[in-house]
């Protein structure tokens, strides 16, 4: 259903401009001051050089950009994309039904269910990871209970599990908001016209919740891509993702210019993804 903005002879265009200003300016000002300026500051380092012992030498250079084109980094990006994509897919497969069920609960239970989804994340990250290690390790709980000797830790699959765990709520909550909005009459109409449950889902529900799906996927994919703690703690440090790469450049090597360049490349891709999301959202 497309939204139509009709000209309203009664209200002046000036009132509309005022409303636009009122709604948009607080948020936008905040973003300009606290996002764009700090980002501008960091990204400006991309054209400078690392000092001998860290710090910045303010001489203009483009060498950071040529360094980007390196099979080592492309390989890391590749495996990060693979892991993040797998995580996102799993999150969607589990998250959509979960959000769907919650959206259809009686009102009293809706809030409780939503809180239940985020409550685990009101504990501390480190002990959650330790808990996973306890579950998955050789002498850990799963192996002890089942009497097996599965090697579940320090593998790529472990990293996916850890990422899925951390970001599942970021899939469920936007989906919940999107699904809950649906007019049940649409679905009943579809059913009355003879469509099966699955067809209704495919042709009515899914398209209408697509913006929520895209948002949820974005919120799971991107942080998974940039995460550095999970690959270190649950992956045994044996795989390195883009997040580790950026972190190492800024913190260990103290090469802020190159770290900024890597970030710029990442942000460029991000903006692309965000524009796709915007297109999907506005299409509905």
């Amino acid at each position: 259903m497309k939204s139509q903005t009709k000209a309203r002879p009664a209200s002046p265009a000036k009132g509309r401009r005022l409303a636009a200003f009122a709604f948009l300016s607080p948020g936008l000002t905040y973003l300009i001051v606290l996002l764009l300026i700090p980002l501008g500051l960091v990204l400006s380092y991309t054209v400078f050089r690392r000092g001998r012992f860290g710090g910045i030498i303010y001489e203009f250079t483009l060498e950071n950009f040529t360094r980007l084109i390196d099979p080592l980094y492309l390989g890391i990006v590749g495996s990060s994309v693979r892991i993040a994509a797998l995580t996102t897919l799993l999150a969607l497969l589990i998250g959509y039904p979960t959000a769907y069920v919650i959206a259809h609960l009686p009102p009293k239970w809706k809030t409780i269910a939503l809180v239940a989804i985020v409550l685990p994340f009101w504990t501390n990250f480190i002990i959650r990871v330790y808990a996973w290690i306890m579950l998955l390790s050789g002498p850990g709980v799963i192996n002890s209970v089942l009497g097996t000797k599965f090697e579940l830790l320090y593998k790529e699959g472990t990293v996916v599990t850890g990422l899925l765990y951390s970001y599942l709520p970021l899939m469920v909550l936007p989906l919940y908001a999107a699904i809950e909005k649906l007019d049940p009459q649409l679905r009943e109409a579809s059913a009355n016209l003879g469509a099966s449950g699955f067809t209704t889902f495919r042709k009515v529900t899914l398209p209408l919740t697509l913006p929520g799906v895209v948002t949820g996927c974005l919120f799971v994919f991107v942080p998974s891509f940039g995460n550095f703690v999970i690959p270190e703690m649950l992956g045994g440090g044996k795989s390195i993702m883009v997040g580790n790469l950026i972190r190492n450049e800024f913190l260990s090597t103290r090469d802020w210019p190159f770290g900024a360049t890597l970030s710029l490349a990442l942000i460029a891709v991000l903006i692309l993804l965000l524009m796709v999301q915007s297109w999907a959202a506005r299409r509905a």
Binding site: G51, F53, G54, G55, L72, I133, S239, I240, L251
Partner: protein, 376 residues
């Protein structure tokens, strides 16, 4: 609509603003260069030995639990300074980021490892140590004044020191490890039960030493050979771990791990964990105290360091967290339990090579670490 006109100009306007600010930032107080735009800092000769400390307060950044919990109260009482605030950092790297971000970090004293102190000094961020304000420097072992990253303790004062080696389960290993190769090429019974450290200099250490190279080499061929060793090791490794290897040993997940001596729980009541410095040699790591040039409380900072070097305070680290301190007066006060690593003598420690910051060469180790960890 004014929206579209506005938004088209917006990104450009902001990019310009950002660049302008960056230029202003480097004009004013450049990141990593000396000279904050605050008051002029006292020159080396001008610190006032009789300064009124009650007008000074201190902000210190240190690892959590590395200093006694009562230090702030005790120091305030003993030195009569107006306040002592402890800020905690989890790694050298994050502390460094705060200290080098430009301007005044608001910190007076920082606890960082030796090569990081060296890097800070090279960037002009440290106040030279004024020995006349720290009489307790005489408590240090003579060996502790000859550390290669800062000979003569010109800008740093050592707080704890030790070495890196192999920490292992004496009850579960089939043969006691003696060489770095026992980690690098683990025997069959230790397959996937060994770990290495993640920090790039310590990751490279076993390989460099096993090949007979210096830990401070920046020769490409040597680093490349070290990388080959590490890449070959990877399939036999349990993982890379800087923080939980002690737990892995205790649970039996790992049998041998690369560890700093202070972290190796040899005094565990079950008596089954031992530490060895491999035959090829190792490093000498030192955690130091430094004073920031941007500090407005330099006299108080010196007084604090002097206070920490007093035997009663300094011995706390050895007595409570099992770290050796380079302070003869303090160590003499400590009762060293049987088999404890606190018994390693300074002369032995000095066999280790101090890790130094390699300037441009540092990036080679960053790359080594990335390549090894990225290998599938």
């Amino acid at each position: 609509m004014f929206r579209t006109r506005f938004t088209r100009r917006l990104p450009a306007a902001v990019a310009v603003a950002g660049l302008a600010l960056a230029v202003a930032a480097c004009g004013g107080g450049s990141t990593g260069a000396s000279g904050s735009s605050a008051e002029p800092t006292a020159k080396a000769a001008e610190l006032n030995a009789n300064a009124d400390l009650s007008k000074q307060s201190l902000a210190v950044t240190v690892w959590d639990g590395y200093t006694p919990k009562e230090l702030p109260e005790k120091a305030k009482a003993a030195l009569k300074i107006s306040d002592l605030k402890i800020t905690i950092h989890d790694t050298n790297e994050t502390a460094m980021t705060k200290l080098t971000a430009g301007g005044d970090s608001g910190l007076d004293v920082a606890f960082v490892s030796g090569q990081y102190a060296q890097a800070l000094n090279e960037q002009g961020l440290l106040e030279p140590i004024h020995p006349e304000l720290i009489p307790n420097l005489s408590n240090l072992y003579p060996e502790a004044t000859q550390l290669s990253y800062d000979k003569g303790n010109k800008y740093s004062v050592p707080y704890t020191w030790g070495t890196t080696g192999i920490c292992y389960r004496s009850d579960l290993v089939k043969a006691e490890p003696k060489s770095w190769n026992d980690l690098l090429k683990p025997p069959a019974w230790a397959e996937k039960k060994v770990t290495m450290m993640t920090t790039e200099r310590w990751l490279a250490l076993p390989a460099l030493k096993a090949l007979g190279y210096s830990v401070n080499t920046d020769k490409d061929e040597e680093i490349a050979k070290a990388k080959e060793l590490l890449v070959a090791q990877k399939p036999h490794l349990l993982g890379y771990d800087d923080t939980t290897f002690g737990d892995k040993l205790k649970s039996g997940e790992a049998l041998m791990v690369e560890a700093w001596d202070g972290w190796c729980p040899t005094t565990d009541p079950k008596q089954n964990i031992k530490f060895v410095v491999p035959s090829e040699g190792s490093d000498l790591w030192v955690d130091t105290m430094v004073i920031l040039k941007s500090s407005k409380n330099k006299e108080a900072a010196h007084a604090l360091i002097n206070y920490i070097l007093s035997p009663d305070i300094h011995s706390w680290a050895a007595a409570n967290i099992n770290y050796k301190v380079p302070n003869k007066a303090a160590m003499d006060q400590v009762k060293v339990p049987e088999g404890s690593l606190l018994g390693i003598k300074p002369a032995e420690l000095l066999n280790g090579e101090s890790i130094r910051d390699l300037g441009e060469g540092s990036t080679k180790f960053g790359r080594l670490s990335t390549e090894v960890r990225a290998t599938q």
